[in-house]
């Protein structure tokens, strides 16, 4: 009995020690993406025109160009969906951007997304569960710097009934 208690103590103690050894704070990783995608399963009517919503969020302190930036030099935010059997995908619908100016150049008005924004994808789907993959292409800036264009993979799962 006493031996069992000692044994249990040793095992628990060593386990705690190992846990402590392995609990060093990992270095903070540099963000590779400035936009996140929140995948939400959706239910649609089979065979009818429906809309799948893609919900994105731009990291605080950053903005991305809208789909219709005010300069041809700027890289627009764009979603491309891959074709999939049983799903007809229509032209992607983008939200309107908001006006933004860098503090160092108030005269230049930009059209941007910041915070949360939703992109709508019109679909007509056969009955059943579908998984559609796509990619969001965007280019982000903060108040003093810009970041190279990025691609964010997206995947939306929906059921057509």
């Amino acid at each position: 009995m006493r031996f069992g208690v000692v044994l249990a103590g040793l095992i628990l103690g060593s386990g705690t020690l190992v846990a402590q050894i392995g609990s060093l704070d990992a270095p903070a990783a540099k963000p590779k993406q400035y936009v996140s995608f929140a995948a939400e399963p959706q239910t649609l009517k089979a065979g009818a025109k429906s809309v799948v919503e893609l919900n994105f969020r731009v990291m605080d302190g950053f903005h991305v160009n809208s789909h219709t930036p005010k300069s041809e030099l700027l890289i627009p935010t764009a979603v491309t969906m891959k074709p999939v059997d049983g799903v007809k995908v229509g032209a992607v619908e983008y939200p309107a951007g908001t006006s933004y100016s860098f503090s160092f150049d108030p005269s230049e008005k930009l059209d941007v997304y910041s915070g949360a924004f939703t992109v709508k994808v019109p679909v007509v789907a056969e009955a059943g569960q579908h998984t559609v993959d796509g990619v969001l292409k965007y280019q982000a800036c903060d108040h003093a710097a810009c970041y190279p264009p990025k691609s964010l993979p997206v995947q939306v799962v929906f059921t057509a009934k």
Binding site: L17, F62, S103, F104, E108, L110, A145, Y147, P149
Partner: protein, 219 residues
Amino acid sequence: MKRSALFLGLIVVGISMLLWAGWHNLRERKLAMQRAQQNRVELIPDKAAQSGQSTVEGEEPQLRGKAAPGFALTSLEGKKVSLSDYKGRPVLVNFWATWCGPCKVEMPWFEEFRKQYAGQGFEILGLADDVDAGKDVIAKVAHKTGVSYPILLTDGKVQTAYGGLEVLPMSFYVDKNGLVVEVTAGLGTKDEIEANIKKTIASGSSAGTPAKQVAAGGQ
């Protein structure tokens, strides 16, 4: 008694293995942290609300105090330009892009400082970090900013040599000996830029052996 000793022996072996696994894990984490430290980003605090460094920890390459990676690139005029052409002169190597708003703000300042410090041999090389923009678009944007210093078309290799460039604008201040004196990410103030130029001109003024250039992009 024998069984107890055997049992106890097994427990000791088990605990030893757990401790070894923990130590091994710690060692691996330390190595990972060291690797991460090598890619550490230096956050430079804003000195003014109107400007300053980027919000994100831009990956600052470990080039400060080291030889500036060499390159040989084509200018908008079709001329081959190498960093080694400017040996013995202080040079600002500035990476920018047509889609980068902050980049275009500082370019006219650069032009101004180029004229101001021409007497000290100061030169600026603007490297267009544009993947999709054509030469004509780059030329049009450069012309609009009013710069007359060489604008070079990049080849992908030079970006890698200079740390991957996760942030634009990115500037590397290279002294007469080919050493990187200062690295800045994001838009700084005009005063900060001038201070870095002065520092670069002053650096390497005493006679020294020119730093060996690391070839990048083929020289």
